[in-house]
């Protein structure tokens, strides 16, 4: 009952509605539903924990939309899961790492997710993110901590050919980050003015 309450009835800081401009600009900005998230820190990792690989290169993403793990540093991962399986997955990760010095901290409420997709999604992100988001530098399955304007974010590019990005920021920055992306989509101009790289 306790977990049930924690995992339901979450009042998210952003409304779920996507912006109508998205269709025209080719940039769809969609705040994510409530999800589970965990910050995993371990220096001497096993190859995997809780069914999630820990041996992938830094700045890569593994898993699927329902449960993903992004390696952000040599000893740091961000895990995202569907709300319903969050506790189960965390317990499984912790069980597999028992005996190793590690920290698995629940940050489900700290993080807010915003999905950015569409042919020109990278254009909106590049309004505030200085990274090279071209196919060679940031292909599908990439993940990194970076900046969007004046906010720190984690940027993930989901698997697949179509550009689908997840922006993760802290809760109190969500209004700014969402506003920034919305403004970026408006300022990107009509579709096709500048070809995607």
């Amino acid at each position: 009952m306790l977990e049930a309450r924690y995992r339901t009835a979450r009042a998210l800081p952003l409304a779920r509605t996507a912006l109508p401009e998205g269709q025209r600009s080719g940039i769809l900005i969609q705040p994510a539903v409530a999800e589970g998230r965990f910050s995993l820190r371990v220096r001497d990792p096993a190859a995997a924990a809780g069914g999630l690989p820990l041996d992938r290169p830094i700045n890569t993403l593994a898993g699927d939309d329902r449960c993903w793990i992004a390696r952000l540093g040599p000893d740091e991962w961000l895990i995202g899961t569907a709300e319903a399986e969050a506790d189960h997955r965390a317990a499984a990760v912790a069980a597999d790492l028992a005996g190793r010095a590690h920290a698995l901290v629940d940050v489900s409420h700290r993080n807010v997710g915003i999905d950015v997709s569409g042919a020109r999604a990278a254009v909106a992100l590049n309004a505030g993110c200085p990274l090279d988001l071209g196919e060679a530098a940031f292909p599908a399955g990439s993940a990194t901590r970076t900046l969007l304007g004046k906010a720190e974010i984690v940027l993930i590019r989901r698997p697949g050919d179509a550009p689908r990005y997840r922006v993760e920021c802290w809760r109190s920055f969500a209004t700014y980050v969402h506003g920034f992306l919305t403004e970026a989509a408006l300022g990107a101009g009509p579709e096709g003015r500048v070809r995607p790289q």
Binding site: R5, A11, S108, G134, R171, Y176, L186, V194, Q197
Partner: protein, 995 residues
């Protein structure tokens, strides 16, 4: 007749699309493709402004972004007025309202022109010489006068309604300039498949090819080659071609800034497109192909309207189908003006040409022009011009090899095209910190050693021949893309070469004439010579003394002439004088482009807590704390701040108050060495703190001064829940990570910020327990089971919590740490449960008063980065047994242990109603001579409703020894007397907190 100077054919304008705008309220007609300058010239208007200093009539000098004179105010609608737009850059379109500047009452009749008559007064260094004395006149008289007279144009007063965008981009090759060299470079780079960005400042890419009517490239007209090349580039997926995009800044690591003008040229910009877009490009390689600038000739009255640069005359004729005059005299010291003369002649205009070079030094261009039936006077100088608001004639004279001038001859004309040769645009190369070298053959500074991954090509490098530009551009583009491909181009030979001339020979007294070098800042050859005579021998000094090259055009047309005159005066070779440094921006950039979207709600992130909406709905006023917006106080109708805070303070002491403490920084410290890590960072001991217990922790920097504080709970043997101050959260986490990663990498500890995972609902007051008791499950709230400074986990309303029994008020208190997304629901449930007890929401102001009543410090208020634990009376917290902790050694520094340090005390005023000013200074004796010995200052000061009087905290030298004595505190009205007391004003025994 509309557009009397529009040629009947030719040009790249679209004659099927007429446009109309206004200049000084009068209609101007033009065509799509015109600039404001070309449309004004088509109307026969040359006088478009008054000069900066002398208010001399000025016209249009050039056709491009180097224009120094034709600066207009452009009005694109409400809130959209910009001063100092170059008429040669602004694209003409329907609905624009343009106005001339720097005159009163009108452009034609300008009172300020009296400055022209007074010009002997306004010599170089006029301000420095005139406003030196008397000293006291500076603030009241001179500075306001100079400020009013300085500057050009009027700054807009309304908020800018436009949108400005920002975009970061990466590419393999960035090509600057889409003239022949840049296009060839982009083509070569694009063929390798690498990512290419080609940026050009003009409305149309093509550069000099846009006004090339006679040259052929690879056997076809240059305009056909241009169209085919653009089509080729446009069809390539790996190329971004940006027109109307000025590359203005070249920074480290090939970080290049560009301003794209997106909508200014559109009469009805629809949708959400921005006005401008700032591009920040990180390029692996850069090709600089920004072209070159033509030099004016320096002769008496060379600034009259109707006197243009020769190539600009050619541009207006060929590209815009406009005759800048019907009777044109070209004055030159080089070959390129002959091509302009040929084109003007071909357009049916009356043309003559005067060349300073002797007949023998001229190339094939001379024969070609004479063959076209044009009178050419070689070996002739220009003595001066005639006319007032428009040139009416050019006074020329033969000049011998000894420099003597022969008999004058007046060539009547309504337009002059002058050319003193060419200067490569090395601005961006210089910005990149590349080293310029002087090329005597070219009489120009050209790119030398590169400092970054870039290369120059074309006339930006001093290569003026068309075929050579194309070949050089192609090679540069290929090399930048890592290809060895080369391509030879065939093209009609370009007339190149010129005789460097600084000031035209004259038989007039050089101190009596005004021959302008810098047209925008009204600097004459005479001014520069005077500066040199007065001892300014460095070009950097001459520049600042005379202001030559310091206007918005940054001396694009004037620099080489100024340098040459200085070198001539000093009898030095040109490179010996050096050159001034080129700094960004290349051309003026709007503030909007630089600011981008960072304004209003996007100026800075405004961080709000999950409770923010509830506080808004309950009438809270807010204050900014770092990036957070926190509820300040909750006034009821009719209450001012004083009344609201008094009510809130009383409620907490007598009943129960509810406070949003979510902004407190929180760090989860986990790992087998967590306690050891804590022990090393804080002054307190941690090893023996039991799980479930809390401790107030104090943290120092290495210098022994207080960095931050906060309550820490031990959640488990290997897990601490640390809290920090609101503003210190990021700083403390960085401090911890720094030590962990660099000093103690052996410690098995991990830090995770949980500031935003947990919202914190503080419930303070004697009735706090009663309010939450029915809602909490799994925790025994009795004082025995759950004492002060303990932490328990359980649930409230079914939501898992970490419940702290802590107090920042001195009352019984709980801080409910609840997952953020459930905080609002829990808050509302607690508030509802508290209503029978008169629960009162309170804000940060009341929080401050309540803690001050108890003498609790706030880091950043009682401390300022120079305060030790002992200074604020917290030395007792230092764990004596600990061998070391961060800052420990510094606590034994001589100045830290010396007597006389400022110590925290309480102050009470003689008049209990008088509230001191925070920051007010404190002295012992008000009769001492000034400057007085200041003992310290007030750090916190409030009206305390619970004490029924004002209270204050202060840092006072040896303050603890002064208890009971009287000191004096500054106020705006004078000193008032205070008594030094213990800083705990309420419940000194702390009985309430343990209730």
């Amino acid at each position: 007749m509309a557009q009397p100077f529009r040629l009947s054919r030719g040009g790249r304008i679209d004659r099927t699309r007429p446009i109309r705008f206004t200049f000084n309220g009068r209609d101007v007609h033009g065509f799509q493709g015109d600039t404001v300058a070309s449309a004004l010239l088509a109307e026969g208007r040359h006088l478009v402004g008054r000069s900066f200093k002398y208010h001399r009539p000025r016209g249009i000098l050039s056709h491009g972004s180097d224009e120094p004179s034709a600066l207009l105010s452009v009005d694109r609608g409400p809130g959209r007025i910009d001063p100092n737009n170059r008429a040669s850059v602004v694209e003409a379109r329907d609905g624009l309202k343009t106005r001339s500047q720097n005159h009163w009452p009108s452009l034609e009749h300008d009172i300020g022109a009296v400055n022209d008559l007074l010009s002997p007064v306004f010599v170089a260094g006029f301000y420095y010489k005139t406003f030196m004395w008397p000293r006291k006149f500076w603030d009241k008289v001179y500075e306001p006068f100079i400020r009013a007279a300085a500057g050009l144009g009027k700054a807009p007063t309304e908020a800018d309604p436009d949108r400005y965008a920002n975009r970061h981009a990466h590419c393999d090759v960035l090509v600057v300039g889409a003239g022949p060299a840049g296009l060839a470079a982009a083509l070569a780079a694009a063929r390798t498949g690498k990512r290419v960005i080609l940026a050009d400042e003009q409305a149309e890419p093509g550069g000099a090819l846009l006004h090339e009517t006679r040259a052929e490239i690879d056997g076809r007209p240059a305009s056909d080659w241009l169209a085919a090349t653009l089509a080729d580039l446009d069809a390539r997926e790996n190329v971004i071609l940006l027109s109307r995009t000025t590359v203005f800044g070249y920074y480290n690591h090939n970080h290049v800034a560009m301003a794209e003008r997106v909508t200014d040229h559109l009469p009805n910009a629809s949708g959400t497109a921005p006005r401008e877009r700032l591009w920040q490009v990180r390029a692996a390689e850069v090709v600089l192909a920004g072209g070159s600038h033509e030099r004016p000739l320096v002769f008496a009255d060379n600034d009259r309207p109707g006197i243009l640069l020769a190539e600009s005359v050619r541009v207006f004729v060929n590209r815009y189908g406009v005759a800048p005059g019907r009777r044109i005299v070209f004055a030159t010291s080089g070959a390129s003006a002959y091509t302009a003369a040929l084109d003007a002649k071909a357009a049916g205009l009356h043309v003559a040409l005067v060349d300073l070079r002797p007949e023998a030094d001229c190339g094939p261009e001379l024969r070609q022009l004479r063959a076209a039936g044009v009178e050419v006077l070689t070996g002739h100088t220009v003595i001066g011009s005639k006319g007032a608001k428009r040139v009416t004639g050019l006074l020329v004279a033969p000049v011998g090899s000894d420099g003597r001038c022969g008999g004058h001859r007046l060539l009547p004309c309504d337009c002059v095209g002058m050319s003193g040769g060419w200067t490569p645009a090395v601005h961006l190369f210089s910005q990149s910190r590349g080293k310029l070298v002087y090329d005597a053959e070219l009489d120009a500074f050209v790119p030398g050693t590169s400092a970054q991954a870039e290369r120059s090509a074309g006339s930006a490098k001093g290569t003026y021949d068309l075929a050579a530009c194309l070949g050089e551009g192609y090679a540069a583009g290929a090399a930048a893309a890592g290809s060895a491909e080369r391509r030879a181009f065939t093209a009609t030979p370009t007339a190149t070469g010129f005789l460097p001339v600084r000031a035209m020979p004259t038989d007039a007294n050089p101190t009596k004439i005004r021959a302008f070098v810098d047209f925008q800042n009204d600097v004459t050859a005479k001014d520069i010579k005077l500066a040199v005579r007065e001892g300014f021998h460095s070009i950097e000094h001459v520049k600042r003394y005379t202001t030559t090259g310091m206007a918005t055009d940054q001396g694009k047309t004037s620099n080489m002439n100024a340098l040459g005159i200085v070198a001539g005066q000093l009898d030095k070779a040109l490179p010996g004088v050096g050159t001034t440094t080129f700094r960004p921006p290349y051309t003026p950039v709007t503030f909007g482009a630089l600011v981008g979207p960072a304004r209003h709600a996007l100026f800075d992130p405004i961080r709000t807590t999950p409770i923010h909406g509830w506080a808004e709905a309950h009438g809270a006023l807010f204050e900014n704390v770092a990036l957070w917006r926190r509820a300040w106080y909750f006034p009821k109708p009719g209450e001012d701040m004083h009344a609201a805070v008094a009510r809130e303070c009383a409620a907490v002491r007598e009943g129960v108050g509810i406070f949003d403490a979510s902004t407190l920084g929180k760090i989860e410290i986990v790992g087998p060495d967590a306690a050891e890590f804590m022990n090393r960072l804080y002054i307190n001991p941690w090893l023996k703190l039991e799980p479930g217990r809390c401790r107030y922790g104090l943290m120092l920097k290495e210098d022994g001064y207080i960095l931050d504080d906060g309550v820490v709970a031990r959640v488990a043997p290997d897990c601490f829940h640390v809290t920090t101050t609101t503003g210190g959260a990021a700083r403390v986490l960085a401090h911890m990570e720094d030590y962990l990663q660099t000093e103690w990498p052996d410690l098995q500890v991990f830090l995770t910020s949980t500031t935003e995972q947990w919202a914190v609902i503080a419930l303070q007051g004697p009735k706090a327990r009663a309010v939450i008791a029915p809602l909490v499950e799994g925790i025994d709230l009795s004082p025995e089971a759950f004492p002060h400074m303990a932490m328990r986990t359980g649930t409230i309303c079914g939501v898992p919590i970490r419940l702290f029994r802590v107090s920042f008020t001195g009352e019984l208190g709980f801080e409910i740490n609840v997952p953020a997304d459930q905080a609002r629901a829990v808050w509302e449930a607690v508030y509802a449960a508290g209503e029978p007890y008169g629960i009162t929401p309170y804000g940060t102001e009341t929080m401050h008063v309540l803690r001050a009543e108890k003498g609790y410090i706030i880091v950043g208020q009682e401390t300022d980065g120079t305060v030790t634990p002992d200074d604020v009376g917290l030395a007792g917290m230092i764990a004596k047994a600990k061998k070391d902790f961060v800052g420990k050694r510094s606590l034994s520094r001589p100045d830290v242990v010396a007597a006389g340090r400022k110590q925290l005390v309480g102050l009470v005023t003689e008049d209990p109603k008088r509230v001191l000013d925070e920051g007010a200074q404190i002295v012992a004796d008000t009769d001492q001579p000034i400057p007085m010995t200041m003992l310290g200052h007030v750090t916190s000061s409030y009206w305390s409703p619970n004490c029924g009087r004002s209270i204050a905290m202060a840092l006072v030298a040896d303050g603890r020894a002064l208890q009971g004595s009287t000191l004096h505190v500054t106020t705006p009205e004078g000193f008032i007397s205070v008594t030094v007391v213990d800083p705990v004003f309420l419940d000194p025994k702390g009985e309430r907190i343990n209730a």
